[in-house]
């Protein structure tokens, strides 16, 4: 195992690095996000950046992109010292970044977003024609197909992703930063993205690639730098390393990738859905049509499917965020809750890990502890005669933070907004799993989490199953699906098109169902096991 | 250096320079004070148009603290405040402009026969040859002085119309004038009058004049009749003004006070000033009317002065009724 020498300067003597960040330190209130970190990016390489949630990856990249000023450390481009005060400087140096949260104006068209900042114009009047052709040409060559005239708010996450990439290409950047680009993508989209990135590298562009998914890193990266708790751990050549070693470097211990769980002992039916249909906001037909399924105590049922096939709407209806069409019926523990309020469902056995942590999961301007009791503040335990018992809230959240290892600047009193997304997610999971629940609805529970955290979350979900809860898991990640579920239902165009057994089926087979290439006869579809 | 202000003016709602009785009163007092080298000062009750009785009382007390010997207060709204303070300070004298006797020896009241000025203005307008008149008044129909102006205006117009054997239309409104302030609504309304043929509008209330003037601005032939003071200097559109001798009478009362005639002539009196005291009428030195001459005016004025003509002061419920040659249309 030869890590690059921990003293970076010696490395500097060879061909100068496309980008070299030396001894970068960045401090935020109560936390050192980057602590004397060095990163060296060779021309034309795909360099992965790996680390736990809150390890400091985004911060380091933000420094490189000029969003933050480091307390100390230097940045060299092609061996020349440069100072990057703001994104302009970064752009000028040919550095482009795809941010974790896309930086797109969603009421603008794709084209407007791409040209924003470098608008072709005569006397200040926009001249979009040429730009349009260039964009089409680019998406042609790199196989990114996006409609330049579509409004960003109307296109899928994958397309937005590609729009971000086009932004960089349009500016002829040769150093491309991807901060967790795959966190939000479907398996198909991930596949495409990988190809695109490889293509870009082949073009001689140098790429920094942040991901928590070791497979992806193993697949495309040439080298990988690992951070832990804001410190530099080391840089390894991918060809000479293994997933195990990487995860060990990053977490500081060995991580299990396969979830070990006992055989399920399904008990009584907890969730029963009959002919559930939901209107679509986008098109005429229903987003969900006549879905029937049951989930029983002590089993994990997983709904697989490509994003946008009605999973979100299904869950919204199930949890009460949206009204289903007349005729739909939802029963929890045998009780019909179709017309019941969200509060009623929450207090009658439903736990829900939402898809969008910022929109639904958290009140970003509340503190961590306030968010921890988001659905419990009214319970006897936390209030008395309408008055909140802050002492108990504090104790309780400290307990959860401890138990689920949620990291943040000022503990329970941290403003949720300031927490790393990964840790925000952990907080939500802690909250939902610790509440009493007979039914757990988890939508992409590990999105944006590091392997250590994922392992942990998976263990917790299984534990809650074994404790007798019924678990309905919605995931776009096939290995998660395969690992975790006891039964797999595939959702395609708003219908359950197949029920599969994880032990007998294969990823390929599921893929076929997800793509709509194959389907089982409706009667069996969604039939109770 | 402590100045003392022997003469105090406590203003009514609205601003000091309202071109109405606040200003008139103030200028009268000012004229006398400056002529006789006496310290004077105006006091504006706090909270502007939302001023309460106590705000007025506070203002009067402040005046007394500053050494006021005599307090001139225009506006009937000041009754309550004045009564309170006057009782507490018998040594201080009060002049209640547009008011009435309060049964206190240190208070004297001045009222005017506005109907006379109104009468003269209406008569002059019709004699000049105008047959489409308008009257817009302040105080929302609740201000006695304004109402007398308006009622007199109709009487005068009717008299002249009878004499000439013509028939006269008059639009009559208290809309948008509650606070005597100018407003875009008032300007639009009056512009509407001019647009639909009204020739002269009697603008009867302080700053409302600004609205009428601006409305007239858009209509080359539009004309205005001013109020309280001679407003011909304000706009070339002003054909005459129905004045009441605010300044003059305040000045005179102050004179009587300083000549030691308070107890004999003023104490608890309510003087009702009109043509006889040269306190009502139209300004002759800025005369601009052609067909109705100063001589004709003087003749008429004297008739009122010696009581041959007595414009009615009591405004009836319905001002539209009982006119031979004037058709009054109310707008409210």
């Amino acid at each position: 195992m030869n890590h690059d020498s921990s003293d970076p300067r010696r490395e500097g003597e060879g061909a100068p690095y496309a980008i070299e960040m030396r001894n970068i330190t960045k401090v935020f209130p109560g936390i050192v996000a980057n602590d004397n970190i060095t990163l060296q990016l060779r021309r034309g390489e795909i360099h992965a950046l790996l680390g736990e949630n809150g390890a400091g990856k985004s911060t380091l990249m933000s420094v490189l992109f000029g969003l933050y000023q480091p307390e100390s450390g230097e940045i060299y481009k092609d061996g020349v010292r440069v100072t990057i005060q703001n994104p302009n400087d970064a752009n000028a140096l040919g550095i482009g970044m795809v941010h974790q949260h896309f930086k797109l104006v969603d009421v603008f068209t794709v084209l407007d977003n791409i040209i924003l900042g470098v608008e072709p114009n005569t006397l200040g009047f926009l001249r979009k024609k040429a730009a349009r052709e260039k964009v089409l040409r680019l998406s042609e060559t790199y196989g990114l197909n996006v409609d330049p005239d579509a409004l960003v708010e109307d296109i899928t996450v994958g397309m937005q992703q590609r729009t971000e990439i086009l932004k960089m290409l349009y500016r002829d950047n040769e150093i491309l930063i991807f901060d967790e680009p795959t966190a939000a993508l479907t398996p198909q989209e991930i596949g495409e993205l990988m190809q695109i990135i490889k293509g870009l590298a082949a073009e001689g562009k140098s790429i920094l690639f942040i991901s928590h998914k070791l497979n992806e890193i193993m697949e495309i990266a040439d080298r990988c730098t690992v951070l832990r708790k804001g410190r530099y751990i080391g840089t390894v050549n991918i060809c000479e390393t293994t997933k195990e070693e990487l995860s060990n470097m990053m977490v500081g211990r060995d991580v299990k990738f396969s979830v070990d769980k006992s055989v399920p002992k399904p008990g009584k039916t907890v969730l029963e859905v009959r002919d559930l249909s939901v209107k679509s906001r986008l098109h005429k037909k229903n987003a969900v049509s006549n879905v029937s399924l049951t989930v029983r105590a002590g089993e994990i049922v997983c709904i697989a499917g490509i994003d946008g096939n009605g999973q979100s709407e299904f869950v919204s209806a199930l949890t009460g965020l949206e009204k289903p069409e007349p005729g739909s019926r939802i029963l929890i523990d045998g009780e019909d809750v179709t017309k019941k309020s969200i509060r009623y469902r929450n207090t009658h056995g439903l736990s829900h890990i939402p898809e969008d942590r910022h929109k639904h999961g958290l009140i970003l301007d509340y503190t961590l502890e306030q968010n921890i009791v988001l659905q419990r503040y009214f319970e006897e335990e936390f209030q008395h005669g309408g008055f909140i018992r802050f002492d108990r809230v504090r104790d309780y959240s400290e307990m959860l933070i401890e138990k689920f290892d949620v990291r943040s600047g000022q503990g329970p009193a941290t403003i949720a907004r300031s927490m790393s997304g990964g840790n925000q997610q952990k907080a939500i999971i802690a909250r939902e799993l610790d509440r009493y629940h007979s039914l757990l609805v988890a939508v992409q529970p590990t999105r944006g989490l590091d392997v250590g955290a994922i392992e942990f979350v998976h263990r917790e979900i299984v534990a809650s199953r074994d404790a007798g809860a019924a678990v309905l898991l919605v995931s776009l990640e096939l290995d998660e699906v395969m690992n975790l579920s006891d039964r797999i239902l595939v959702m395609y165009e708003g219908e359950i098109t197949g029920e599969l057994d994880p032990h007998t089926t294969t990823v390929q087979e599921i893929g076929l169902y997800m793509a709509g290439a194959r389907r089982q006869n409706p009667e069996k579809g969604g039939g109770a096991a | 250096q402590s100045k003392t202000y022997e003469i105090a003016i406590v203003t009514d709602v609205g601003q000091l320079m309202d071109k109405g009785f606040n200003q008139g009163t103030y200028e009268g007092a000012k004229a006398y004070a400056e002529a006789h080298k006496i310290g004077y000062k105006y006091y504006q009750p706090a909270n502007g148009s939302d001023a309460t009785d106590n705000d007025r009382i506070a203002a009067m007390k402040q005046a007394i603290n500053n050494g006021a010997k005599i307090i001139v207060a225009p506006g009937f709204l000041q009754a309550t405040a004045m009564e309170t303070v006057a009782k507490e300070n018998p040594s201080v004298k009060f002049v209640f402009v547009d008011g009435w006797a309060l049964g206190l020896d240190n208070v004297t009241a001045i009222v005017y026969k506005e109907q006379e000025s109104g009468y003269l203005a209406g008569y002059a307008a019709v004699m000049e040859g105008y047959t489409k008149l308008g009257f817009t008044g302040g105080g929302g129909g609740g201000n006695p002085a304004v109402n007398r102006f308006g009622y007199g205006f109709i009487q005068g117009a009717d008299a002249a119309a009878k004499e000439k054997g013509v028939s006269v239309e008059m639009k009559y409104s208290f809309k948008y004038g509650e606070t005597f302030a100018a407003s875009n609504e008032l300007q639009t309304q009056i512009a509407g009058w001019y647009a639909s043929g009204t020739e002269v509008v009697f603008s009867c209330g302080g700053s409302m004049f600004q609205s009428v003037k601006s409305a007239a601005g858009e209509y080359p032939d539009a004309r205005i009749i001013g109020v309280d003071v001679d407003q011909s200097g304000e706009s070339e559109k002003v054909i005459t003004s129905a004045v009441k001798g605010l300044s003059a009478s305040v000045e005179r009362v102050l004179g009587q006070f300083y000549d030691g005639k308070w107890d004999s002539e003023l104490a608890d009196q309510a003087q009702n000033l009109g043509a006889a005291e040269n306190s009502t009428g139209l300004p002759t030195d800025t005369w601009s009317l052609k067909n109705f001459t100063v001589d004709q005016y003087t003749e008429l004025f004297n008739k009122i002065k010696n009581g041959e003509i007595v414009p009615v002061a009591e405004v009836p419920e319905d001002v539209t009724a009982g006119w031979s040659n004037v058709v009054v249309t109310l707008e409210q």
Binding site: N91, L126 | D18, A182, S196, E331
Partner: protein, 335 residues
Amino acid sequence: MIFLIQKTLIFTIPLLIVALAGMYAERSGIINIALDGLMIFGAFVGALAALLLRKNPFFVDHNQLTFLLAMLVAAAAGALFSLLLSFSAIRLKADQTIGGTALNMLAPAIALLIIKVFFTKDMLEMERAADTSGTMKDFGFVILHDDLGPIGRIFFDKAYISTFLAAGLFVVLSIFIYKTKTGLRLRSCGEHPQAAASVGIDVIRMRYLGTTISGALAGLGGYIYIATVANGTASGAVAGMGFLALAIMIFGNWKPLGIALGALLFGFLKCLGVIYAQISIPIHGQDVYILRDLDLPMYFYNLIPYVAVLIVLAFTSGSSRAPKAEGIPYDKGAR
């Protein structure tokens, strides 16, 4: 009837301009509730300018020129005054409603104080002044036909140059915000400043630009308002016009066309409410004053425009959408 249309136009113009002012600020991400104050300030400085100019007979002879100059000065004043808002809202990242509220209180305070100290009055009128021949002339005859003779009478009766100026401005402003590079950047700062910053747009500068344009327009609107609709006096108040404009901006969904329609609708109903008593239709030969003869109290007619707006909103609501980032101080680190 013609009169009603004339008045509607005249009344709509300041509303339109000031609502556009609001739009420019908010599209750049700054909530501008200071419109009222900016109008008051512009009105005051504009009136002051007209007053001083007319001390020179030349300008008394040339009313239109004086009017134009005064409008320019008013706009400049508004722009300057708005810097107070930009400074607190952009530079100090202060709550934008505080800055705005402060301006709404500052404007009348400053105006009235100056008027009192230098003119010993409580309001500033556009007084009479002597023209070159020495005769005293009113200001306020700024309607066009006066200068353009008979032709003017036919085409421009009761029309102010400000009306045409504003119409032109409306077109220019609409094109600017949609069709130019700066317009695109300005809008991006109102929707997603971080995104704008990440492509090297100077958000701070864009927001200053938006607010300053806003200030200029509001100042201009304020002066036009007093010169054409409200008594030709700067009295340290504009009867809540600024807030109405704010409402019209929201009503128009932060879009020029919507704003124009909103302003027209409101202006029309407002004027109708005031002069309903004069509106007559000839029925065989003689004029019948329908609305007056209904004799409903005027309050009823006063209510119409406000109620109408609410009703329309109730139906068109869903589409309404404020710029996403409006009111949020721009902060690089934020996500």
